[in-house]
């Protein structure tokens, strides 16, 4: 694999423009000072209780995501282009969902094969013909972006269901401002703190048409044992809305209420961080204890807005992903600004043959997987792992897609042996309300802390960094 592009020290070893000041600061700062700040940061995070759970790891029910104190910096120019690309992509995602659950023009035009949609377990027939306020399906999108060189950014995946991580974007910034006030004073960094305001505005703008002028928003969580519970409570707090669990809600006459100390109170918009499957035991999984019986019926009656809408999984499906450039062109008539990573769809015999021949060079992922589980990273895998994977792939080719192993860009990162380059990605959060799409300048930078590793997922040893967009 080629040497990765480093975002601070460019290809010729020169310090890139956006990192000039940071590089100077790093050379002036003794290593002990950095170590000291690292410890302080860890202490702060522990105090605040920013934790996540690792499933299947009983020993460590709550863990901290490692935080790296060296910021990742993007220039204003780089961001401006990315922002345009993100808005374009999310508009297309929303139009695609509206089309799939209504007229299905894109299927009739032969751009996407029918069975990819209808055979797909994340396609929700319950949503056929269902109107959603202002045709917004994906109110909150987390689009994962990687960079391979000075100019090329690729979308790695679209998260259109219940993307998480935004609390880290906000808390990382808070902690950085506390620990490095001098470094902030030497930069002009676009602020991220208005995210909660933007989110609340977006959520209220999509309330059912007949709800009051002050619609009631609630954030629905699966509960304290969910891996992202910290984020749910953090956001509810920032939004100033109730953090509800399924058992706090009740449906009467197709209207949704929460149980309060003063009796039942009507809810208009639910920012739900519960998967489709668990929303309503009457419609989806009957064994779900997290959901609210009758919620789908209230939703279908148009008495409550769910954000994101039900059925958005079809838009971030890894097989549908490979059609994103066509989807953008089809609905917007524009060339996609952000590139897609070339993807082989193992469901297609030609692609499958290629993938089987090149397993040691490719990353193979389950179409419906997430969190970095169940994937094969060819270049890093042993022969035995590859052979085991080959069998799996032959048995169920439609369950997989493959991508080249991209040389993800690196950023300087604190390690036990001092500063060293580590691979990073970026997840900006795109908000869609009634009449506008907004993005707070920044996002969650995830960093693979192990040397050479390309897996940035927090469940697999990844950490996070503060992401600075320079305001030029």
């Amino acid at each position: 694999m080629a040497v990765a592009f480093d975002e601070m020290n460019g290809p010729g070893g020169e310090v890139r423009q956006a990192y000039q000041e940071l590089s100077r600061w790093l050379s002036e700062t003794p290593p002990e000072a950095l170590t000291h700040r690292r410890q302080e940061a860890e202490l702060l995070f522990r105090r605040i209780g920013i934790t996540f759970a690792v499933y299947g790891d009983a020993e460590a029910q709550e863990r901290l995501i490692p935080f790296d104190v060296i910021p990742r910096i993007l220039s204003g120019r780089e961001w401006a282009l990315m922002e345009l690309g993100l808005k374009q992509r999310v508009r297309a995602l929303n139009m695609f969902l509206r089309d799939i659950y209504h007229g299905r023009d894109i299927l009739r035009a032969g751009i996407i094969p029918d069975d990819l949609i209808f055979q797909n377990p994340v396609f929700r027939p319950e949503m056929n013909g269902q109107a959603v306020p202002h045709d917004v399906y994906v109110h909150i999108a987390g689009i994962d972006i990687v960079r391979v060189d000075d100019e090329n950014f690729y979308v790695l995946e679209d998260n259109a269901r219940t993307p998480s991580g935004v609390s880290y974007m906000l808390e990382n910034r808070e902690v950085m401002m506390r620990l490095f006030p001098d470094l902030f004073a030497r930069h002009r960094i676009a602020p991220v703190e208005r995210y909660a305001d933007e989110l609340l505005t977006a959520l209220r703008s999509v309330a059912p048409a007949h709800s009051s002028s002050e619609p009631t928003v609630a954030l629905m969580t699966p509960g304290v044992y969910n891996s992202a519970y910290y984020e749910h409570s953090f956001l509810a707090d920032k939004l100033g809305v109730e953090l509800v669990e399924g058992r706090d809600l009740v449906v009467k006459n197709d209207e949704v209420f929460m149980r309060t100390t003063e009796g039942l109170k009507r809810v208009d918009v639910i920012y739900r961080r519960v998967d489709d499957d668990f929303l309503d035991p009457l419609t989806f999984r009957p064994d779900s204890a997290l959901g609210v019986p009758g919620l789908m019926s209230a939703y279908r009656a148009g008495n409550v807005t769910l954000a994101n809408a039900v059925g958005t999984g079809i838009a971030d499906d890894k097989a549908v992903y490979s059609y994103m450039p066509d989807i953008v062109k089809f609905y917007l008539g524009e060339e996609p600004i952000l590139k897609n990573v070339p993807t082989w769809r193992c469901r297609e015999p030609g692609d499958l043959a290629y993938v089987l021949d090149h397993l040691s060079e490719l990353v193979v992922k389950e179409v419906h997987g997430s969190g970095g589980y169940g994937m094969l990273i060819g270049p890093a895998a042993t022969k035995a792992t590859i052979e085991a994977f080959r069998d799996k792939l032959k048995r169920e080719p439609e369950g997989f897609i493959a991508k080249p192993t991209l040389a993800l860009s690196t950023c300087p990162t604190c390690t036990d042996a001092g500063l060293a380059p580590r691979h990073v990605d970026l997840r900006p959060f795109v908000l869609t309300g009634r009449d506008r799409v907004t993005i707070v300048p920044g996002g969650l930078t995830r960093v693979a802390l192990k040397e050479g590793s390309l897996v940035v997922n927090s469940s697999q040893g990844g950490g996070t960094k503060d992401t600075w967009i320079l305001d030029e």
Binding site: R46, R47, I48, G49, G223, V224, Y229, S233, F234, A236, D237, E242, L243, V244, E245, R247, D248, M258, R259, T260, T261, E262
Partner: protein, 314 residues
Amino acid sequence: MLSRTAENLFWLARYVERAEYLARTIDATLRVTALPNTYSGQGNEWDSALLTAGVAGSFYNHYDEANEANVVEYLSFAPTNPSSIRNCIEAARLNARSVRTALTGEMWATINSAWIELQENWSKGAKTREQLTAFLRFVQETSLRFDGSAYRTMLRNDAYWFSRLGVHLERADNTARILDVKYHLLLPEQEHVGGPLDYYQWSSILRSVSALTAYHWVYRQTLKPWLIADLLILNDSLPRSLASCYGNLVRNLDQIGVAYGRQGPAQRHARGIRNRLEHSDMEDIFQRGVHEFIQEFLADNSRLGEIVAKQYLI
């Protein structure tokens, strides 16, 4: 606010209060048992510590003898005791985590750091008396910080009032339990004044509700059992007296009632208990029997818990 939020706040406060009470009970018992037998008496103080903690029954499912090591272990650290100090702090934090949004940052930081310290420093219990003393101090300081940060940082709204309800209901229960276990030491004025033996028993009672200094301020006398009873039951200037707890419970419930524009059975029940305390004097109580009085109070107090739950928390 959400009923579940109110419930979590209520229980969060109760668990913190209970942890502190257990710590003080252990502390006071350690002091009495450290005295020579001539002062501490023949009765098993560790048995009565179990009784005041309300876990005497379950203790003997796990241990044969109520000695210092066993009782301290059971009350402080035992995972098998649902209301051990450790479990109280765990439960408090779990409740706090579910209602983070209703807590101030300071309250959360207090309970979360206590929980972290519990994992880091006390996962193996306390090996020596010195360690135990440090542990008990840590628990009491946690409760003080939690209470103090609630008092100083919370908005005065229903979240605050529900959490105060938890504090005072638990506190009244704790004080009444001590009285219930030690009532035989609390004699009316006419009876004989005990020797040195009783003196240390009495001071131990006061210590477990942190009222030893207060006693001297209020009565300016040597320890007299009827005055101790008066202080713990009727004197509403002592924060842990039954009268003071009920003054607060009535006030908090009224505040909720006013905010919600509606009174209910909880308000009426609490006022009933408070009125009975207000209209009693120690002579009546001794005449009817301290034991009966306390038994009745304990039942009334737990009934209030049920009524509050039914009216607001479910």
